[in-house]
Amino acid sequence: MKRMNQTTMRRLISIGMLLILVVLFTILAGAGKGKFFNFDNLIEVVRDASIPAIIGVGVTFIIITAGIDLSTGSMMALVGMTMANIYAYTLLPFSVMMLAGILVGLLCGLCNGIIVAKFNVPEFIGTLATMSIFRALTYIIAIRDANGVIKSQPMNHSQYTWLGTGIGKFYYVIIAMIIIVAAGQITLKYTRFGTNLYSVGASKKAATLSGIDVAKTRLIAYVITGFTVAIGAIFTTARLQSATTAIGMDFEFNPIAAAVVGGVALSGGSGDVIGTLIGALFMATLENGVRKLSINTAYQYVIKGAIIIAVVIFDATYKARMDRKAREEGAKEGLE
């Protein structure tokens, strides 16, 4: 008796939703010249999905441990502004500038990790607090003109902006996304750390009893998120060719939404990076497609919200059903 397990089924559902959306937009927006389903547009969708997918890798790790990170958007701004300062005030090479950005990302992630994992502050509150702290720090270190008015710092040297382009239409950000998603998936499925993440998410108590350092595992997940955010910030500033204080405003929900749509349960212990990638693609497709239909863009938020609620309800009811079934089977076996 072979039954499809939940992971496979959930994967098929998210792929199915993505395909349905693509087909739907192809039909609705495809009349005539095919506004949606053409290579130029689809590659643009993947490009738009890249940043949430890259940052989503770290966020997925955190959500698998049953945590959450609300500070990723502000962290992006802080990393961007740090690099802008180095760009504006020093003559250091761009590689050093990017390394400094990554270092700031790692430090931010470490802060989150220490607050959440070492001091046991609830993730939601802890990262909500760092969200405003990181944003405020961005304003504090922002570049100002002679009158003290904040200005956006151009970062348009060709040795940096090439990152925002690509080999033809194959943007570097997409290549980076593929590498990071692959690395994330391998870490998750084939390393002890990955297994530990699932164990911590499934039950912290059981994980502790089986000898897993829960605090360390959670902390590393936050540090990894800091790294992915820094990579996201580098590509964002390279594409914008500038750093502003508003970068990443309201961004934090995108990777979370991508993960949830892709089957990473907020209750922890399930899901993977590929799922998050599918979720990110789904969100980007939705945004892009709604624009093509010339309808009010506000509807995309209604659709996004509705889909998130629907998948969460599915995840919850499916989990409850499976638990009940397992209990019933267990009871039956007990009787025999």
């Binding site: 008015v149 200005k151 914008l240 500038s242 508003a246």
Partner: protein, 347 residues
């Protein structure tokens, strides 16, 4: 009548800036039409179509935050201008106040092959590469009020007066305050040329009045509700505050509401800029002291006119040595003259 004057003014501006094209610019229309619409300036990406002769044309309008009265005013102006031609289609996009989203929408619009883009930049520096990319692809970009960084030459900038509007507001405010007292400024999103210039003009003029002191300046990101909070903190820190200059009307309205709930209605001289409907009503009721009025509908339709002109012309940005600016006429509105702005001109 007014529109015709603007159109004339506009043509003059365009002609002046196109003069940079030199000899090539004198080619007759028939000649260029024969050479399949390639620009006299040298770029070959721009495809000339004639919107007034029935060619299918689509224009994208991309706003920083499409919900605000200003953006709605421009949108309506653009749509009205194009409504008479069934072959002209206008699509409006909102960037949800995010430069990243706006850049994505710009790329999208370039890919979709819009004939022109009317853009209110979320961030001048961040949008500059996209504007350049669009112009290189042969899509004229007309910025409205919020321009991209000045070294990116594009088809046109339609703007309300900024520096001088700040000066006008300052003079009238100083008069209303009797030449003495403390003033606070409520800023918009920092780094935008228009708002920075407004503030600069205001500060430069206030400096002439020795009795008036600017005690504080805080940002409220153009938002009414944020401005209320900022105003409340001003009222706490400076009990003797006599004047507030907000960079846009929405924030002035917020400040006026905060003053009202602190029982200081009419005691504080509150000024805004833009001249939206609600602000004019608040000036009538005495909650606000004044504003600098610009007709947003005219501004939108002017932007659309330039867009159509550029679509139908053989010239593109390569002919320009600087971005042509079309400056909308400002009116200083106080309680005395607010009645002269007719209902049909209130947006």
């Amino acid at each position: 009548m007014k529109k015709r004057v603007i159109a004339l003014m506009l043509t003059a501006v365009m002609a002046l800036s196109l003069a940079a094209c030199g000899g090539g610019a004198t080619t007759t229309r028939e000649d260029t039409a024969a050479s399949s619409g390639t620009a006299a300036g040298g770029s070959s990406n721009k495809v000339k179509v004639d919107p007034y002769a029935g060619d299918e044309v689509k224009i994208a309008y991309i706003a920083h935050d499409i919900g605000t009265p200003n953006n709605q005013g421009w949108k309506e102006g653009i749509e009205r201008e194009c409504a008479s031609w069934s072959n002209i289609k206008v699509d409006s996009y909102g960037a949800e106040e995010s430069a990243e989203t706006q850049v994505q929408i710009m790329t999208d619009c370039i890919n979709q092959g819009y004939n022109a883009i009317i853009l209110q930049c979320s961030d001048g520096t961040a949008l500059a590469p996209s504007v350049k990319q669009a112009e290189e692809a042969g899509i004229p970009v007309i910025t409205v009020n919020l321009d991209c960084s000045s070294d990116t030459i594009h088809s046109a900038l339609v703007m309300a007066v900024d520096y001088d509007a700040g000066r006008m507001a300052a003079d009238k405010m100083a008069e209303q305050m009797g030449g003495s007292g403390k003033i606070a400024i409520i800023q918009g999103v920092p780094g935008l040329e228009r708002t920075d210039n407004l503030e600069k003009g205001f500060r430069d003029t206030i400096a002439n009045y020795s009795g008036i002191e600017i005690v504080d300046a805080q940002s409220a990101s153009f938002q009414k509700d944020t401005a209320m909070t900022v105003m409340n903190s001003f009222l706490q820190s400076y009990p003797d505050l006599k004047g507030v200059f907000a960079i846009n009307d929405a924030m002035a309205e917020g400040a006026a509401l905060a003053a009202q709930s602190a029982n200081k209605k009419g005691q504080i001289v509150i000024w805004g800029a833009d001249g939206e409907k609600d602000a004019l009503a608040m000036i009538e009721s005495g909650d606000m002291a004044g504003t600098i009025y610009t007709n947003s509908w005219d501004e939108g339709s002017t932007a659309a006119k330039i867009a159509l002109l550029m679509i139908g012309s053989e010239y593109d940005y390569t002919c320009l040595t600087a971005t042509p600016k079309v400056i909308m006429e400002p009116i200083v509105v106080t309680k005395e003259n607010v009645g002269t702005i007719a209902e049909e001109d209130r947006w």
